[in-house]
């Protein structure tokens, strides 16, 4: 059995708010494998976003381990973490999070520029073509529809061909038609790029594309549902 791209082992995350301790995640274990979509389901505040931040190496567990490609994120220094985020992880957010001052092409190119990759413009243009927006390369984000913006965000997340794609409510701010387009792209990320996709969602349509559905409640995993496509 291949080792998972991403693995959470007995992970807990506790926040100290004034005198109180808030247990955002408690003893969570989960693995995401290449080419699969894992959906995190549950009410707001159940710990989905906390889990995504830990999986994206943006935050660190209070106890337990988050392993990416077999290495614990807690053991990495700032430079290694930055390299990890650049090369291996892509993010898609509910509110698109495009930089309003950059053109569509520049938004997609940005991660490559940050890592100093060669031929960045060409790679970015390829990804834009992949999401079907190469004709909007010079537009500014505010000139696009919500669906188009999220497709640009997907292209940006994929521009480094990451091993892990983290999507936080990617259709939460879209109409059904646009949402379907984006879900289709996310699904293809797993199949065509072999990425391990970890997606938090409230939507049944979004959950439907996932091979693994993780239901969460009060910071714990309630059940895991695996299905064969």
């Amino acid at each position: 059995m291949p080792s998972p791209r991403l693995e959470l082992r007995s992970v807990s995350r506790t926040y100290q708010i004034n005198d109180q301790k808030l247990h955002a995640l408690q003893d969570v274990s989960l693995a995401a494998e290449a080419g699969t979509v894992t959906a995190l389901l549950g009410r707001s505040g159940c710990g989905k976003s906390t889990l995504l931040n830990l999986a994206g190496a943006m935050d660190f567990p209070s106890s337990g381990d988050v392993l990416i490609e077999g290495r614990s994120t807690s053991s990495l220094n700032e430079a290694d973490l930055t390299a990890l985020r650049r090369k291996r992880i892509g993010f898609v957010f509910q509110f698109f999070q495009l930089l309003p001052t950059l053109t569509v092409l520049e938004n997609v190119e940005l991660p490559l520029l940050l890592s100093g990759a060669p031929n960045s413009a060409k790679t970015a243009r390829d990804r834009l073509q992949w999401v079907g927006l190469d004709d909007r390369a010079t537009s500014l984000p505010h000139q696009l529809s919500g669906g188009q913006m999220q497709r640009v965000a997907v292209a940006r997340a994929l521009v480094q061909s990451p091993d892990i794609l983290i999507a936080d409510e990617p259709t939460g701010n879209l109409d059904t038609g646009s949402g379907d387009q984006v879900l289709n792209l996310i699904s293809r990320c797993a199949t065509e790029f072999g990425a391990a996709v970890l997606m938090a969602t409230h939507s049944a349509e979004a959950a439907a594309i996932a091979q693994v559905r993780v239901r969460m409640r009060d910071g714990r995993i309630e059940n895991i549902d695996r299905r064969q496509n």
Partner: protein
Amino acid sequence: MRSLASLFRTLIVRPLKRDRLRTALTVASMALGVAVVIAIDLAGDAAVGSFQSSLTTIVGKTDLEILANGGVDQQWIGRLAQLPVNARFAPGLERQAEIQGAGFVTVYAADFVAESNADISRSAKGPADWERAVVVSEALANRLHRPTTLRIQGHDFQVLDTAPAKTEFVALDIAAAQQLFGDYKKLDRIDVFLSPREDLNRAELAIRAALPPGYEVNRPGTRSDENQRMLRAFRWNLRVLSYISLVVGAFLIYNTISVSVVRRRPEIGILRALGTSRGGVFWLFLTEALLFGIAGSVLGIAVGRLMASGIVGLIAQTVNSLYTSSRPSEIALTGTSVVVAMAAGTLVAFLSAAGPARAAMRVAPTEAMGRGSRETAVRVGYLRNLIFAALLAAAGIAASRVRAIDGKPVLGYIAALLAIGAGALAAPALVLGVVRVLRPPLKTVFGAEGLLAARSLTASLGRTSVVVAALATAIAMMASVGIMVGSFRETVMVWLDTQLRADIYIRAAGPTGAGQYPPLPPQTPALVAAVKGVAAVDTFHGFEFRYQNERAILGAGNMEIVKRYGGLRFLSGDSSAILASLPNQGRAIVSEPFANKHNIRAGQQLSLNLGERQVHVTVAGIYYEYSSERGYVVLDRSTLLKYLPGQPATNIAVYLDPGVDSAAVQRQIQNATAGLPILVAPNQLLRQEGVRIFDRTFAITYALEGVAIIVAMLGAANALLALVLDRRRELGLLRYLGAAPLQIRRMILVEAGLLGLLANILGLILGLALSLLLIFVINKQSFGWTIQFHPPYGLLAAALSLVWLVTVLAGIYPARVASRLNPIEVIHEE
């Protein structure tokens, strides 16, 4: 009302407390602006304040004073006493005398023996022997540790008493003074004390009718008014320069309130949706500005008071070298100056915030619901602004062509303000244009950081433009004053080369301030002329005189020698022919400032009061002169001595035979004149002294510019911090996308560098325009001299590089803040 107060607390005070550093930076900028204004005002007052004659404190207030160019003949005291006027006429004399252990000190002489003028005699301890007695001012007595005797010009005097005065002087009886100075004929003035029953107008008319036409009868305060008038251009220019920091501060308040409005648009929308009136919102933000204004002013007054102590000496030195003798008095922080400073600071804050507050008022209630409104940059119609900029520039050019009003270059300053306005309005177009050109190379050199920095500056064009305009204004002021001073310095250097043609210069020992022409011992010219190696001796007679209620300098030299050695450059006409036309003719030459001040052209007639006579002379030419703003009227010696035969020589220019050893001749002159109280200096020393005085005069100018630059730097740091705080989400996102903290830091520093570069470009263009205004309009109209345009390129390049570097340094803290933001927090603030 209570609801507004509570809104104010929540919407304004709370964020101000949260962003303590930004609040502090804004208040500090405002405080510095106000501080400079008040410091210049207080220091200027203190430097000028001591003009009022200290003698008033001991002889009482005169009702009239009788004055004459070249001195008042003492015999007029007796003659005036015969008039049917109920008055007492008292002699007045003022000289500088060397006092052992104290250097040169002002000596006042009055008729202390006269019975009715016995204030001082009464206060004296015991019967006064006025032949060998003096009264010393409290200030001098303290410096000399309360002496009982004083040695004045080699003679001992007993100290009778001290006079309560903060300036240093010695007072003695007129008879003793005349004996001391060896001058029994001439007085500086006759003071007239009227009896209470006498009518002032009647007495004035009667006295005037009795006196010769060359004599003047003035009311007290005339001298003080003359001084104020004489200094008005100098003080005006300093004052205007001091307002630069306040103008820069105004830009920053505008920026702070704009940021405040942009960041709180959603809250404003909610408030409007909940029923807050547009007026309520408007006043909410104006009150915020008012808070900055008041806090800045209060702090500024305290800092300004301290600054004033630091600069009063510098201003007084300039006044002394260029205008007239004065000693700085105490700095007095009056209620008026406090009110003026408070009003200036608050008003500037108020006016600069009116625009952003109006923008706040116009926020629609629906904006509360609009996502992404935080990204709404201040939209700027840069093309429209560019057209307005062109209109303002055209108006500025038109204003610069208008003549001075009441001797003040009012329209020149308005032209400068219009130019600054034009620069500010052109800023958005410049930012867009330059950044568009620089974006590709920035991306190539700095990668993502370069691209993001360039994009971010143009995205928040409104704010960027204000910061660029504020910085550019400060830079423009620095550049323009730098160009003006550099040009002036070069012009003065060239002039010194032309003017100082003699090899050795001689003057009487004594104070060197402006208007000080201590007489040379009469035997000096003959002793010098007899020294071997001396080719020619030009004896100069200089003294302060009054012309049309203004003071100037009247001088007379040997024009034949001046012509032979070629020492003067004229605005027009042949120098030799002009100089040759002066001896034994009723002709004079005048300096350029004198001609401009009194609107005089060559060929015109001047009416001069010389001694008892009113003399008419024709202006043969106007010559370039840069040592005195008050100006010179120069006659040939033959003309002066015809009307004032006893007028002592004050300076000697010595020309040597070709090839002789100048230092050796100087030594021989010193030997020949040994024992005489004179100073012999080589040409080189005079030149150096000229340059030293010039540099000292403009030291304060550089200090003022420095403050304006500091204010602008605080503004740059403030603005960059605001940009960082406003882009928290974007900066957080960059971390998600793989940006290292160092890259975020670099991005902010690239932005700071770009801001500095943009400000330098605009500042240099604006500075060039302002320098032309300063040189050819403001200076010409204020001081009357022609300055050749000589920009100090090296200095300018160094100064601009320094400003750029400091702008980048101002970005260090905001960059640190940016790199330390918690990405998870800021990305989930949505």
